[in-house]
Symmetry: C2
Subunit: 146 residues, 2 copies
């Protein structure tokens, strides 16, 4: 299988993944209301919970958004009592975001709900298919982080 740059099969796969991602997110978005956290908020909260305290800038980079966006996201999470801010003792410009106990709890409870409809779909798959999706998710996360 020669993998020449610009392989049309790669483009086709990219297209389909793009389409699948759009539809997947549209599907789970309707579930977001049930837990009171929209997808971007949940995603950011997840990073904060698992990534430990981190600066707003680092969070923006992790979430691949611009600083103003992360300012708003953190403000919302803070208003909900899910994260807190800590000034940096060394650098007065910097603030670190840390998850509260409530934030960790809500994330745990929420992620299950948020992906419930997805989980239900996936649950019906054969084990081999489940493995395919798992591998694909792994691959994508690795590619997209790089």
């Amino acid at each position: 299988m020669p993998q020449s740059p610009g392989d049309p099969r790669a483009a086709a796969v990219a297209n389909r993944l793009h389409s699948a991602a759009i539809h997947l997110l549209r599907r789970v978005r309707t579930q977001d209301d049930a837990m009171g956290l929209t997808a971007p908020l949940a995603s950011a909260l997840s990073v904060v919970v698992f990534g430990g305290p981190l600066t707003l800038g680092a969070l923006a980079r992790a979430e691949q958004v611009r600083p103003p966006t992360i300012t708003r996201v953190v403000a919302q999470l803070e208003r909900l009592g899910l994260v807190g801010r800590e000034p940096d003792p060394k650098d007065g410009r910097v603030q670190r975001v840390r998850a509260t106990a409530k934030g960790r709890k809500v994330l745990e409870a929420g992620r299950a709900r948020r992906v419930a409809s997805l989980t239900a779909l996936i649950d019906a798959l054969a084990p081999a298919e489940l493995v395919t999706l798992e591998r694909a998710a792994e691959l994508l996360e690795r590619l997209l982080r790089g």
Copy 2:
């Protein structure tokens, strides 16, 4: 195929897919500008081009959005000259959406660009990995259509 409901592995996969989808779309969104079509517009145009003339309602179902959303999407595509509307001779309530020549052209030119960064990432994968992603995309599309 013994897949007990609530299989924790299914939930874990759902979580990872969700996260991957968020990051994937954030990645390609920045590329959308290059072709002048945002992701939802491009997705809808794609359905119209490949799905032939279809009613607004059918398009809404295909795109998994509510009617008002598709009204706006079609209005934008129409304003851009990428699709046209045709009244149904039999049913006065219905309008069919058809891609214009320009619409087909823009889609062709645009799809490559729109997923360019994705394609570049995917291009670097081993053939087996590419197949995994392809299968996953297929699975997801099938699940999400149902």
